[in-house]
Symmetry: C2
Subunit: 219 residues, 2 copies
């Protein structure tokens, strides 16, 4: 099957590094879904406003290739599990699936929260979330269960540049997820992360994320 | 994006007519997911048994074309809503999304229940269901809310051929969903439905499904 891009995600995640590994960890981050010209049609959205949640089916545009087994970052990078047992981007068909909250419909765009999508990500389908068929609150989460509450405290330096409250809360949400690549635990190593134009440098030491430097966007 | 078929569904739904419109209505019906030779690899399944539910991303192989608005069968066929507000097969990229319960892994196949898939349906991706990001029991179901409990009583004739209990329960589950095409309400019209080799003829009158004839599979 050949898929056409129907829309693209637009948000502050301009680099892949730092995108939370689970969508529920991006509840503060707004993503704008901008339809491609061919699919920019108010009729296609009719009735959508009566749903609170949507499914996005999208493409891992930056992932290449796949392997039968994957080492999930949250398992420390040493345990191999089958690719079908993970949400890894490195899968035979690099399709992503994310449930989002529909916040608003704005000039033909959708504004959603909870999207773990890189800026520019191609979207192939949008479906209403139906609680009676899609919600299984008691589902067993396999090995993901033990890692789902992973969250680190985030400490900012005294000399932070002026940053608005929303962006700071979003940054904290991202950093608390420990965006370091798996297999790395070097407390002296400094990481850089770009978000919404900000360039953030941090270290992780004793399970605390310490921001060492934060550079404002060049206006 | 070009998708490769990774597996195919195998079940009793040999004709499209009769497939329930929502997957939760097929809780009794077992579907076997048979991997294509290239993806038939026990390593790819490692760890899957620790999840209770999975996502299937699949293709509406029999749907052709799309339109910006759709008349959902359950709204009586007269109300038009935008295609993104529906799960209609007639969408720009004819991708289906279904959560299923993983019942067993059997000789490299998956046995699942809750799949609203036609026999032979191509499957493009399988993902673990993660309750902490995928489950929103309080999501607002839009216009689907008012129709989600639609179910008709099913009456069988006295002269039913011998049919095993499981198959009969599955048939009842299917018929109770009123598989008539939308827009039709002719109590004298007889419909035929094939399931698991059985050929079932029924009428719908005063909101009761009456089976008038049931022919056993030719062995």
């Amino acid at each position: 099957m050949q898929l056409s891009v129907i829309a693209r995600a637009k948000n502050g995640f301009t680099s892949k590094f730092g995108i939370p590994r689970q969508s529920r960890e991006t509840s503060l981050i707004h993503t704008r879904i901008v339809f491609e010209p061919e699919f920019r049609d108010a009729n296609m959205l009719r009735g959508l406003e009566s749903y609170s949640h949507l499914w996005l089916i999208w493409g891992f545009s930056q992932s290449q290739g796949w392997s039968p087994t994957v080492r999930p970052p949250r398992l420390g990078g040493n345990t191999r599990v089958g690719v079908w047992a993970t949400r890894s981007p490195f899968r035979p068909n690099p399709i992503g699936l994310t449930s989002v909250r529909l916040e608003a419909i704005d000039h033909g765009d959708l504004i959603v929260t909870g999207a773990d999508l890189l800026d520019g990500t191609p979207i192939y389908d949008i479906k209403p979330y139906l609680s009676f068929s899609d919600s299984h609150p008691d589902a067993l989460n396999g090995f993901a269960e033990s890692t789902k509450d992973y969250r680190l405290p985030v400490v900012y330096p005294d000399n932070m540049p002026p940053i608005d409250e929303d962006t700071l809360a979003q940054l904290t949400e991202i950093l608390s997820q420990d965006p370091r690549p798996a297999y790395q635990d070097d407390p002296s190593r400094e990481y850089g992360l770009d978000y919404a134009g900000w360039s953030v440098h941090f270290v992780v030491h004793d399970n605390v994320v310490r921001v060492v430097r934060c550079e404002a966007p060049v206006v």
